[in-house]
Symmetry: C2
Subunit: 345 residues, 2 copies
């Protein structure tokens, strides 16, 4: 009576990442992302479905390419770390569009960290200057190590300057990454961190209209990877930075609600990143241009990440099964699963 | 590192239903439904989020009362039974709004059958004539036994006339329910089944604008429990039945897209059923009135069902745990879960 839904729990997700390595996974995931982004126009796309409260948000992120369907459950609660919880937790599911049955479920707190870094790295690979050597990071939270490893795997970046208002978070970042060969400079201000950087990544968690980065911080030629402005009322950049930059987004309908461009009018010009991959739009136009990826995270990113994970663990001891789909022998006789055996009546 | 998410899989769901009994569960679930419906105005409510294909639909159904959040994944594929799959499969999750963490996951194919029957029975309890003795059923698919048991548990209905275009489905229905004491008459037409019935339940699966029930089938005083018109392009009733009836719905914004009233203009008059419970609207006005519940299934029904299940299995051997939420000791140090132990490097 069982319908097999393959399953990767937290323990096996951690084992997978340890076994394969964060950089290898992100590099492989970028191939899946690029393949799906090239098929962008085939996907069912809607802004994520959010349930907001004063403390945070719970979101569902569905999408489908007509063959497979995926969704992710994800929360965002900036006040969580102070209470011992994570800002973001997630899990997700793949399903077969043909019969509607789920096929795969996985933890996605770790997978979201990987796919967010993979998306950042994919975009930077196409938009940052090819000679980029150093990345400045503002924010040393849960996403920071994954960003650094993604940029090393895809762009070869090993030099990092980093600033966070929480010095302990920076210490944690150094402790986690210095053993892996990174050259990390802890800075005492954003100004110090961004000076001379080729790429700037902002990734902070406060749910507020902040100006983590001011216009003076962004020099000509920089690629700006703006990750943390991803919720209505949550931005990181001084508005004038957007005017100086060529702005790239995932799905404009969602980014205008959630991204840095929520500070701008509805018709603020943006480039849909998939069009850079398909050749319908140009990326960076010259070495002096500031390119800005206004990343909010889109459902197709999770679709790609789930596909990559599913394919990577297939047939290994990292996948198990989860018994969530009742499947009676006679599909019209669901009741047979709960009818008491007559002799027991 | 684990965050405990309680879990009820298919096997334990079936054991729970066998142990408690379908009628007892539906009766208890009606109390939870009524409690939540009375608080209707506190809930976050949106039409379900549907991904349609030519073969069927995959839907997400989220809601929240500000303290707890729930969503259900559910598909609807009318061509599935002919291929050995069920029309509907489902699973769902409860979460804590305060920190956004999931707390409970369960199979919901069986639970949806229970909650659909519980919703039908709850509504009929308030709208059908108190002296109702016999229910006519059109459709003997997976939902049919649950409907019958729900109406017996809540309304005391034991006499059932039933018609289905598939005689084997009717045989299955009789085989499942006659041992439980029902008085069942298999009919050779809808006309025969509905003659003299107090309540008519329509629950068929074809995705088309059908007229399973014509105006001549609906006598004065009947309560019509219309379950199977629940998708754009999928209706069961001749349009003129709606004009003769007082029509009750769950959430008008969703029902106007999916229910029988999709056949009618946007301003077709309906009563929101919760208002009958809160006293803001009247239910049945006299014994000659035709009352019609245009049921499409709403997210709050699943919220109530998940709460009831969670509370019922709490502390028993029917609940297990599922490892889907990564939870590092330091919430800003997600990377610690995947950092290789230094001695292994």
């Amino acid at each position: 009576m069982n319908h097999a839904v393959k399953f990767v729990d937290v323990e096996n997700m951690a084992r997978w990442i340890q076994r394969e390595g964060v950089e290898n996974i992100i590099t492989g995931m970028v191939d899946y992302l690029e393949a799906d982004y090239r098929e962008w126009e085939r996907f069912d796309k809607i802004p994520r479905v959010a349930s907001h409260t004063p403390f945070g948000v719970i979101e569902l992120m569905p999408t489908s390419n007509g063959k497979e369907y995926s969704f992710k459950y994800v929360n965002g609660h900036p006040s969580n770390p102070a209470r011992g919880f994570q800002t973001v937790t997630a899990f997700g599911v793949l399903a077969d569009v043909d019969n509607g049955y789920p096929t795969f479920e996985a933890e996605m707190t770790l997978l979201t960290a990987l796919r967010t870094a993979a998306t950042s790295a994919m975009v930077a690979k196409h938009l940052a200057r090819k000679d980029s050597k150093r990345m400045a990071m503002v924010g040393a939270g849960s996403q920071s190590e994954f960003q650094a490893l993604g940029f090393r795997g895809v762009m070869g970046i090993e030099d990092i300057t980093i600033y966070d208002i929480d010095p302990e978070a920076v210490e944690k970042f150094k402790r986690n990454l210095e053993p892996l060969g990174f050259n990390i400079t802890a800075c005492s201000s954003v100004d110090e961190a961004v000076l001379g950087a080729d790429i700037i990544t902002t990734c902070t968690a406060d749910k507020a209209q902040n100006q983590i980065l001011a216009e003076r911080h962004v020099a000509p030629g920089v690629h700006l990877n703006a990750v943390g402005g991803d919720c209505p009322g949550k931005t990181e950049l001084e508005s004038s930075i957007l005017d100086k930059s060529k702005v790239f987004v995932e799905f404009p309908e969602q980014t205008r609600i959630e991204g840095e461009i929520q500070q701008k009018p509805e018709d603020f010009p943006v480039v849909e990143f998939y069009q850079v991959l398909t050749g319908q739009a140009t990326g960076r136009d010259d070495d002096e241009q500031i390119t800005l990826f206004d990343d909010v995270g889109f459902a197709i990113n999770d679709f790609s990440a789930l596909r990559y994970l599913r394919d990577s663990v297939k047939g290994t001891d990292l996948e198990s099964e989860i018994d969530i789909i009742a499947n009676p022998d006679d599909p019209k006789d669901l009741f047979s699963l709960v009818a008491n055996v007559p002799s027991l009546l």
